[in-house]
Amino acid sequence: MKFVYQDLLNFLSEKPSKELLSEKLFQLGHEHEIVGDIFDMELTPNRGDCLSLNGLARDLNIFFGKVQPYKIYEGDILPLDFNFKNLSTDACPKISFLEIEIEGAIAAYKPYLENYFSLLGNNKVNFFTDVSNYISYELGQPTHCFDSSTMNNQLTFENKICQESFNTLLGSNINLEGKNCIFSVDNKIISLAGVMGGKSTACSSQTRKALIECAYFKPEEIIGKSIKYNLVSDAAHKFERGVDIQAQEKVLRRFVAIVKDHAAIKNFKIQTFDDTAIKQHIIPIDLERVNKILGTNIEEAQYLMILNRLGFEINNNNEVNVPSYRHDISSQNDLAEEIAKVLGYDSIKSKPIEIKNNLNESTSHIHNIKNFLVQNGFSEVINFPFAASKDNKSITIDNPLDSNKPYIRTSLKTSLLENLLSNERRQNDLIKLFEISDLYSRGDQINQEKKLGIIISGRRGHNYADFSKKLDFNYLNQILNEGIDNNIFNIEEISRADLKTKKKDKIFYTEVLIENIPPDIYKDYSFNKEKINFIKYQPVSEFPSSVRDFSFSIVDFKKYNMVIELISNFDDDILKHAYVFDFYENKKLKEIKVGVRLIFQSVLCTLSEEEIQKTLHRLLKPILDLEGVSVPGL
């Protein structure tokens, strides 16, 4: 909801600055942003009563006082003899109609009405609809305007299962399905109640006689409809949060007053269909309880003053009467929150707490497993559980986010294989991943299992001893199954035949139930959960990397350490990684050969050969300047 700063000031006795108004709105829990003179409110869903100038002013009365800047028609109004049938009083317990006829065309709008469109960027539609929209802004009650000339027979309201199309007043054709609150004439739907009216009965600039419908619809019956039918509806937003069931006459009298401001009225009549005995919601006064909830020592006088300024009345039985527009208030905790908001949450003093509890030692089994794997070079991943393929135990999602992935995975294998392939595409040549997750499957009931999945492919390591070796069955088997009775890790090779990849490295995978891993085998890998290193993250490049290998020949052995240090200490934005992948001592020729791999990558762009050469030159020059050090062939 957006409002103009000056418009709200008109409802307040004091005229706070924008900053003070903003501070108090935040204090009351009404989040917002301010652009110029426009406040864009983000109200919590329980405060539908604040979706108007009048509603916000009611809440701000405690700080700035509230006035009624608008006039309503105070005179007598004749009853409307109107042919209406309410077949679903549960969904719409109270509804009122105003029939109003004007003479002649409408000249310019009065400033308060004109500003609503010009300052808030709202589009004008036609006079009656414009008044309706303005009243919703001012008082929070949506109304709908029918062109009376289209309403000749009985109007019926019903909450029923529908299966027919409906043309909205904005021209979109929607197919109604399921249960909907609708208005109909001659069994033809003319309005999706609480959401949007229809084209066939909509007012136009030619309309001189309109029927204004003003209703209370049960929020449960309206909620979700605008999203279901993809309709943007301010009315639905308000009805979903609950409007004031007592406000209908006042709203329609305000409607008359605004029309009177703009046109000569020939005739107007009102009829209310009230099918509910409205119950006053009452809460006993219990200040002790409120203080106990908040941890405060508020005095009774202050407590009563706050409630009174918020619109709560104290009745003769010393109870709190809850205003009809406050659907969110029903308990002492609710009243405590009202008091706390007015005092300001930050002004309630903290009181130390000592939590009494008998702590059980939590199991560290999973942490030990993870730590064992991390120490052995595996990286943990977390995947979404949504899967494209199913097996006979798969659970189906009724409303998947991606219709291509409507199942819950029953294995970690597909996710980990996708992770492996995506890392291969990113030019990683050593991939060791694991994931631990709950998996769910369907049986007589929903079954839950915690599993560990491990996948490997590529080089064993980047050091000179492992660079040429490949991750394989033996590697994984040795790490996981050695020293364990009954090999619990069943290792399989995943064929690359059906994978879209040119890589040839073999892929090995294992998946095991956590409960099948003996709790003591990784006990030496205890895990310190409190230890965390909050590193400063460096953005990851989305651009390809370039690899350069160099073989240094060192015949002056005194220079060996210098070469290693120059490479290790070289710092450059585009040098991602440097490591010795080959080391060979040729005792016969008295020469050391050091193979170094340099990987270049930028976070900003794909590197050009020139950029790489420039960095290479900076790195290699001091090394090659050393006597007894060379790169043969360079």
Partner: protein, 241 residues
């Protein structure tokens, strides 16, 4: 060093992997809560509507229960839990006050854009005893945020709305650039929830709070794009050693 026999080959360092940063932060938070007296409890990610919504006073009309917000499964017989609060409900049903539980894990919302994911992680805590007050809640939240962001952190409490707490608050910290950042939601446990868990709300009261693990991780590590956590990119994951 002039003799080739004195040359030491390069040291072979064990190449260690990394724990997922989200799990690191989750475990850090749980550990902190354990130090404060909270016992870690666990529960299923596939929940009944009763435990995910009804027991928590989330009425049938609440927008969160709509198909566009919650993943329903197996002909609406269950949901993918939208928060870890049902774990606390299950635990409260089996315990008597005083009780203090923490729960953590994956939760699901039907959301997917630059700042929201369909799956993310929460850490929640609940404490129920006699005479637990909003002033106590503030003290506990201060302790948590001081642990997380240091003693100089500036904190503010704002009123908010959660069906399962009343009063409810959102808590912000003041960032280095002078803007308030929302960090967690908390409140006094709604007596309806206590009653649903067979705890006498006339005798007992409780406090509860919940943190988004991804949000804390993004702030602490300086990660700007939440999606980075779930791309399983070794260049990304390898930084969190």
């Amino acid at each position: 060093m002039s003799n080739i026999d004195n040359i030491e080959p390069p040291l072979i360092k064990d190449e260690v992997g990394s724990l997922h940063p989200i799990n690191q932060v989750k475990d850090f938070l749980l550990s902190m809560l354990a130090d404060l007296g909270f016992q870690e409890v666990d529960g299923p990610e596939i929940e009944s509507e009763e435990f995910n919504f009804d027991m928590l006073n989330i009425k049938k009309s609440h927008p969160a229960r709509q198909m566009h917000d919650t993943f329903y499964i197996e002909n609406k017989s269950h949901v993918l839990r939208t928060h870890t609060s049902p774990v606390q409900i299950r635990s409260m049903l089996e315990a008597k006050p005083p009780l203090a539980f923490s729960s953590a894990g994956k939760v699901y919302r039907k959301d997917d854009d630059a700042t929201h994911l369909p799956m993310f992680h929460q850490v929640e805590g609940i404490y129920v005893d006699e005479n637990v007050t909003f002033a106590n809640l503030k003290d506990l939240i201060h302790q948590i945020l001081l642990n997380l962001f240091g003693k100089d952190v500036e904190i503010r409490f704002r009123p908010s709305y959660f069906p399962f707490t009343e009063p409810s608050a959102e808590v912000d910290i003041l960032s280095e650039n002078g803007k308030w950042l929302e960090i967690l939601g908390c409140g006094i446990v709604n007596p309806i929830v206590l009653k649903n868990c067979n705890i006498d709300p006339e005798k007992y009261s409780g406090l509860a709070f919940g943190l988004g693990v991804e949000r804390i991780a993004m702030l602490k590590y300086g990660v700007n794009d939440i999606r980075g956590f779930y791309k399983s990119n070794l260049d990304f994951l390898g930084q969190f050693k």
